[in-house]
């Protein structure tokens, strides 16, 4: 309710107040997409669906004025899903006003942003909540209401954030695939903060480029975007629990020749025992293999979480091995293959992602996931029968 009010207020302010009349032409762009997901096996829980069709749209309105020093962006998102009502949803990804001056930038509204450098998981990236029904790998995010002031100096950029409203994580419903063994009861989330989702969170981040290194140091104080879970009293569902946490994050990338060396480290306290988690690794690119235009990148990352098997996180002692093929052709064809191996048990995850432009406005994407030898006590055990192949076609405008 508060969230809707905030949004409505912002809409009104931006469209009537700040946006000067006749200030440059507004511009619409965006995409509509359809995806079909074929599952290789019957679901673990017979309530879960089989093959699935889904449609999505993400239009984007953009308008700038004041010689580009001010702009307004509005990006709604809509998803319809054939079987999972939790996956059919609407969100405002962005609704922001930006003012850029010589040594500062101010942003007010709902926004998405990204912190970090690694590929396999994004420990440091904490501002936006994960829209898990969108993508099981956690790469899709909800818009986050914020006030953000960036101070741009010789020693780097200092970003200050006030985050007045919390977004709950989305989870597949009872009917949905790619969920835990027990469904998540998102209507009964628990909060440590007495203000619940209205707790005012804040964050600070410094980032800079020093020679070959791009680095960031961040601090977050507020409601954890990543919940832990408690079993509901009837034992039929899990309740998400959102604790108040403090999190320090450090991300670093050294770009040395054809090597990229990457590391992300966090220290989180407030969610049961304090802990440290780490992702670190490299990417090496063979440019123009076999005298062609094709680039081949190989990457490897170590994923570590001090909490081990007790963590509500899937990768606590794992290794990613991957290969990225970039064809550098007119259609921007790309292929990524990866395997995440659990060091402590036989479980591993296979990842395939591939995309190619068709003509000038269409894009086709093929994605596959396979979950192999997942033990019964693993957090991912609920998805052991959810291997899938997904074909998506998007039209951009």
């Amino acid at each position: 309710m508060i969230y809707r009010l905030f949004t409505a207020l912002l809409c009104t302010t931006l469209t009537s107040g700040i946006l000067p009349a006749g200030a440059g032409e507004g511009e619409w762009s965006g995409y509509v997409s359809s995806e079909y997901r074929a599952f290789l096996y019957k679901p673990a829980d017979r309530r879960q669906h089989g093959n699935n069709l889904s449609l999505a749209a993400q239009p984007e309105y953009y308008r700038e004025w004041d010689d580009g020093r001010q702009n307004f962006t509005f990006v709604p998102f809509l998803r319809w899903d054939q079987n999972d009502s939790e996956r059919s949803h609407v969100d405002i990804r962005e609704l922001t006003w930006l003012k850029a001056a010589d040594d500062w930038e101010l942003r007010v509204g709902i926004r998405k942003l990204f912190w970090g450098v690694t590929e396999s998981q994004h420990l440091v990236d904490i501002i936006n909540q994960t829209d898990l029904v969108e993508a099981a790998d956690g790469e899709e995010k909800f818009g986050q209401p914020m006030l953000n002031l960036a101070l741009i100096r010789d020693w780097g950029t200092l970003d200050l954030f006030i985050l007045p409203y919390f977004r709950e994580r989305s989870f597949p419903g009872v009917d949905g695939r790619l969920r835990f063994g027990l469904p998540i009861d998102t209507d009964n989330a628990r909060y440590e903060s007495s203000r619940q989702e209205r707790n005012i969170d804040y964050a600070v981040r410094w980032e800079s480029v020093i020679g070959d290194s791009d680095m960031g140091l961040s601090y977050f104080n507020g409601t954890s975007r990543e919940p832990r879970f408690e079993i509901r009293h009837d034992g039929q569902a899990l309740l998400p629990v959102y604790d108040l946490i403090e999190q320090w994050g450090l991300d670093l990338q050294a770009t040395l020749g054809d090597w990229l060396w990457k590391a992300e480290i966090i220290r989180r306290s407030g969610q049961l025992e304090p802990y440290i988690a780490l992702t670190t690794g490299f990417e090496y690119t063979f440019v123009g293999i076999m005298e062609s235009a094709v680039d081949l990148g190989i990457l490897s990352e170590v994923l570590y979480d001090e909490r081990g098997d007790n963590a509500p996180a899937p990768f606590t002692d794992d290794i990613l091995l991957g290969a990225r093929l970039i064809l550098n052709d007119e259609q921007s064809s790309e292929l990524l293959f990866g395997i995440i191996v659990d060091i402590d048990d036989p479980g591993h995850l296979l990842i395939l992602e591939s995309s190619r432009r068709l003509g000038s406005a269409w894009k086709i994407t093929l994605e596959a996931r396979a979950f192999l030898n997942i033990p019964g006590n693993d957090l991912l055990t609920g998805i052991r029968d959810d291997d899938y192949l997904q074909l998506a076609l998007a039209r951009y405008f």
């Binding site: 960036a150 054809d258 440019v287 123009g288 550098n328």
Partner: protein, 275 residues
């Protein structure tokens, strides 16, 4: 030694001389003529071309890129280009893609250097992510085109060793023909045979020879216009790859020089704001 730059062949920063050109040229001619060795004469020509294209400070332009495969099928990219002249170093540039639509808003920030690897960042708008990318190898294709990154960045004088070959008339224009040999060890070329217009001190044609010393590509530049009474910029650049039979045409428009851009318009923050 003072670092100087040669006229930019580059799409991004095409450079060159002015009109004072004609007069300057007459004054300079004896000096060039006195140069004793072909190497000295080649270097002198490059330095003069650089001198004439210095001082443009910054520039914006729009760029249409037409990629053609061996069957003649076309695909088009629309790019907005911003460039910043940097004294004593390679230029900075920011390229923002408007088309194709699936990469709309993708932005590419580059700090070029003569002999060191460039520094490059890519902004991916769907992920809101800035990625520093490896730029050791400058010979890879730029956005699937026949232009390599090294063709697309500013052409500093010290990027090459030079040799004057001959004078030649090319399509009715008097040119110096010089050879340039890349100094950067990861260059994809062994030499660039360059036809430099004597009046503009701008390239009209370049032949690129690959690491096996065979002819790889030919670049032709046309439709030069002069801006601010000094700086020449081409409207068209065509790159033909003789080995793959593919080609890329660049159509430049809306050049604005000395527009007041600063280093602040070429940092990671501006990359995130790019549209």
């Amino acid at each position: 030694m003072r670092k100087t730059k040669i006229g930019k062949l580059s799409a991004v920063n095409i450079a060159l001389p002015g009109l004072r050109a004609a007069c300057l040229f007459l004054i300079l001619l004896p000096i060039v003529a006195q140069a004793e060795t072909p190497q000295e004469k080649g270097l002198a020509i490059a330095q003069e071309a650089d001198r004439r294209d210095s001082g443009w400070q910054n520039q914006t332009a729009s760029l249409k890129m037409v990629l053609r495969n061996r069957h003649g099928q076309e695909s088009v990219r629309q790019i907005r280009n911003k460039a910043l002249e940097v004294d004593g170093d390679g230029d900075k540039s920011l390229n923002i893609f408007d088309n194709p639509r699936d990469i709309k808003g993708t932005a590419f920030l580059s700090y070029t250097h003569a002999l060191k690897p460039d520094e490059q960042w890519l902004y991916l708008p769907a992920l809101k992510r800035v990625k520093r990318i490896s730029s050791n190898n400058k010979s890879g294709p730029f956005m699937g085109s026949e232009f390599a990154y090294e063709d697309f960045t500013s052409q500093e004088v010290e990027k090459y060793r030079y040799q004057y070959i001959r004078d030649e008339t090319l399509d009715g224009r008097d040119t110096f023909v010089i050879e340039r040999y890349p100094v950067y060890k990861h260059s994809g070329y062994t030499r660039l045979l360059t036809w430099l217009d004597k009046e503009m001190h701008q390239p009209l044609k370049v032949e690129f020879y690959d690491r096996k010393k065979s002819l790889l590509k030919t670049l032709t530049l046309a439709g030069y216009q002069q801006y601010l009474g000094q700086y020449w910029r081409p409207n068209q650049m065509r790159m033909v790859n003789h080995q793959t039979k593919k080609s890329t045409d660049l159509y430049w428009a809306d050049y604005h020089l000395k527009t007041g851009l600063s280093t602040r318009d070429f940092d990671r923050n501006s990359l995130k704001r790019a549209r």
